[in-house]
Subunit: 136 residues, 2 copies
DNA sequence: TCATTGATGTGAATCGTAATCATTACTATT
DNA sequence: AATAGTAATGATTACGATTCACATCAATGA
């Protein structure tokens, strides 16, 4: 997902175009990995030192709900990244040092037989963790 | 892993046998799902109202490091359960309502080809979430 | 341009967790 | 059983991440 498409989605849901949201999207569009909410905030502060954490968290949550961002919990923090391809379900390798990700195109749910009688499956999580080439 | 084996492990590492640790292990041994630190604390308070949260967190962390407990992050909390079978690698279905788990004996790493050149894989997470029969 | 409505900043609150340290409880030894 | 050494505990304090309430402000469409 790119910034333009994100704005389309936002407009569809009648969210307004604001400097803060522009900055958040601009920042995350240029990163290729998961980024902690606090780091997004650091960036916003450059142009807008008075930006509040609440604004950051509110918008990140909104964007994730709209499918603009992907979300994961990494060592007790919420981290976000541009939803790389909303149309194609996939998973990620995540570097535990810098947060960079790589696609894992296959989904384990398609490859293993789960025997869970009576349960209502709502979702799943599959992530591989490690160090990317630059972080070793 | 049962309580006796847990005590063996603790003794091997010269951890002492205390009322609090007995209560923690007793409690978790009878549960069949992940339990939040706070809930473990609630139980300990019955016999020992003055127990400190630090004692709970310290011991849960210790037990997890020793492989006595398994640990996962579920809605922003750390949750623990008896390590069901340390010898056999496997995964879990987790009920998002009550925390109960069911084994998933297969591991996706054995069933999908990951193409991650140059990365150093340190671990992976595969969990299926949903509602167990009792929670629907 | 104006009015509407949503977005923002402020500051404090909450939540889960960790650090410090003096006191207390185990455990092994005498 | 009394002791000594050491680990565990509870009290307090603090922390980082996130959320809340609410007054103010700004983007948008009419
Ligand atoms: Mn991807
Ligand atoms: Mn299991
Ligand atoms: Zn990296
Ligand atoms: Zn359940």
């Amino acid at each position: 997902m790119n910034v333009e498409k994100a704005w389309e989605t936002l407009k569809e849901h009648s969210f307004k175009r604001t400097k803060n949201r522009e900055a958040i999207l601009e920042f995350l569009a240029e990163r290729d990995g998961y980024t902690a909410a606090m780091d997004v905030g650091e960036f916003l502060k450059k142009d807008n030192p008075g930006v509040s954490f609440d604004t950051i968290y509110r918008n990140l949550t909104t964007f994730a709900e709209l499918g603009i961002l992907e979300e994961t919990d990494l060592n007790g923090e919420r981290q976000y990244r541009m939803h790389c391809d909303p149309g194609v379900h996939h998973h990620h390798f995540i570097c535990t040092i810098c947060g960079k990700t790589k696609h894992i195109p296959t989904c384990p749910m398609d490859h293993i037989a789960v025997n869970l009688p009576g349960v209502e499956i709502q979702g799943h999580k599959f992530e591989i963790y490690g160090k990317c080439p630059q972080c070793q």
